[in-house]
Amino acid sequence: MITDYFILALKNLRKRKLRAWLTMLGIFISIATIFVLISLSLGLQNAVEEQFRQFGTDKIFIQPRGQIAGPGTGGAVELTKNDVEVVEKVIGVKDITWWIIATGEIEFKDEKRFFNIIGFPLDQSDVFIETGFYKADEGEVLDEEDFGKVMIGSQYKYNNVFKRPIKERDIISVNGKNFVVEGILESLGNPADDRLVYMSEEEFREITEIEDRIDTIIAQVEPGEDINEVADRIKRKLLKSRDLTEKTRDFSILTPEEVLETFRIVLNIITAFLLGVAGISLLVGGIGIVNTMYTSVLERTKEIGIMKAVGARNSDIFLIFLIESGLLGLVGGVIGVILGFGISKGIEFIAINQLGTTLLQAAFPFYLVAGSLLFAFVIGALSGALPALQASKLNPVDALRYE
């Protein structure tokens, strides 16, 4: 019986094609928008979580507070070698490394550019390489004795940084000092990260004249230790050595899980806001359905009378109209999902090819597709509920007389 109503509803919609299309326009634009937003937001979340997983879940990051825009941008507070020594001695810390970041002048074949450079202790390069999950695409990553050498981000391989691509064993100059390119890294996914130049801490301090400052200390936790307990221990030791209390604490201690959580919250807020905006357009689309269905009920008053005369109950009439409006929503949803899929893929394509980031990848889990379709059907049915109720309550005598 329900299948017959679906066929009946389809026939009715096909008879008023243009109107049906115009009504669905409002639905499929908003469903497509919602689909794109969720799919990209999920994709972004997946990509970021993947990156964090690469960092490993056994690392604790210690940074000074009050940095304006990430490590290296400066602030009143600085971490130094003293702090490294304190952290190193905390029970549960297996290994330790750190880095300093600054802007450097990079020169290659008479061209000069300014990019961020990073210095890290070569004798702790194992931990550093593992922490950043660095992999050499060409050549090798920096090892313990690799003074006078640098490893560089993947962007230098292409000619969009310098006119000519840099190759392994080329010589570049950083702040006037020459380095041999030991390795070119695989892409980290983010263009800014892929333009970094890495070198030994000693040479970094020599060419930047930064004496003691350390931007980030990374402690690796012993296997089997609770990372949160170790983080807490580090915090207490550092407070003591820096002569501070919890209230005056000037450094932050982050575990990957915490960072990820913060990121998730921010992303969810942004997504929720955008969905709210898209929701308004869906509401407008729903009102379009209400309008169309009311017109349809009015036009088909006589038809309703005939159906009642031949035995249709109120509930039959209600269902016929409800399914019809639900179909408007559903078909609008199908088109919206297809459209949304195309747009998301398009954005992903542009992100990878034009912006060089692999972070903005669209994700299409089954529940997103099914959910969008169900949602569209429900919106359609809800919008049609009132007109359908009105249709079902028509008095058959009056309806039959209607011309």
Binding site: M1, G311, R313
Partner: protein
């Protein structure tokens, strides 16, 4: 003879602002099983209201209506719908086919509302289209059919659930004389096969030619009742 439909002291009043329009005012009508009855009257006589009540499309303001000896004057609208869908077949002056359904689908509609299976509906619809001689128009839409053909589809639809009563409201009003005559001949044949026919019309010649009993309505009341006995019309009331 048993009565299939009986109206007992039935009144139907419409309220228009402060005015009361007495469309029907204390009417008794009884329709015997297997008879051919005409409801006659000029426009405004209340015959349309009468038809709506006989066809259980509407409920009376007062009085009782019996369909197959059950009082239907207090049923809900959905209960009425089920009963009329099963026991009464309608034929309208303007055919009232649903324009975006084919001839076959129009005939299947009343069976759909009675919950019949699809293949059952289809075979019965095809059989009925054969009965009204429209087998070659199965998948035609109403606007592809002539008036006479449309009325035959409507008759087939009225017969869909094999109802006991066929209620025809000015069935020839939109047809030329010859086509109209065919339609009425068809109704007479149905009557001979045992169907009860109730025809509402303003055409006394038509009524007297085909019916066996005529209720003459005027101003919401029954003016007289005549009955055909041995080809002669006699006033019985």
């Amino acid at each position: 003879m048993t009565e299939i439909i009986k109206l007992k002291n039935v009144a139907k009043h419409y309220y228009m602002g402060d005015d009361v329009v007495k469309a029907l005012d204390g009417v008794d009508i009884s329709i015997e099983k297997g008879s051919f009855v005409a409801i006659m009257g000029p426009s405004g006589s209340g015959k349309s209201t009468g038809m709506n009540l006989i066809g259980s499309l509407d409920l009376p303001t007062s009085g009782e209506i019996y369909l197959d000896e059950h009082d239907i004057s207090h049923l809900t609208e959905s209960e009425l719908a089920q009963i009329r869908g099963k026991k009464i077949g309608f034929i309208f002056q303007s055919f009232n086919l649903i324009p975006n359904l084919t001839a076959k689908e129009n005939i299947m509609l009343p069976m759909l509302f009675q919950g019949l299976e699809k293949n059952e509906r289809e075979s019965r619809a095809e059989e009925l289209l054969g009965l009204v001689d429209l087998k070659d128009r199965i998948n035609h839409y109403p606007n592809q059919l002539s008036g006479g053909q449309q009325q035959r589809v409507a008759i087939a639809r009225a017969l869909a659930n094999d109802p006991e009563v066929i209620l025809a409201d000015e069935p020839t009003g939109n047809l030329d004389t010859k086509t109209g005559e065919n339609v009425l001949q068809f109704l007479e044949n149905l009557n001979k096969k045992g169907k009860t026919i109730v025809m509402v019309t303003h055409d006394s010649k038509l009524a007297e030619k085909h019916a066996q009993k005529i209720y003459w309505l005027k101003d919401g009341k029954i003016e007289k009742v005549t009955r055909k006995e041995k080809e002669k019309w006699k006033t019985v009331k």
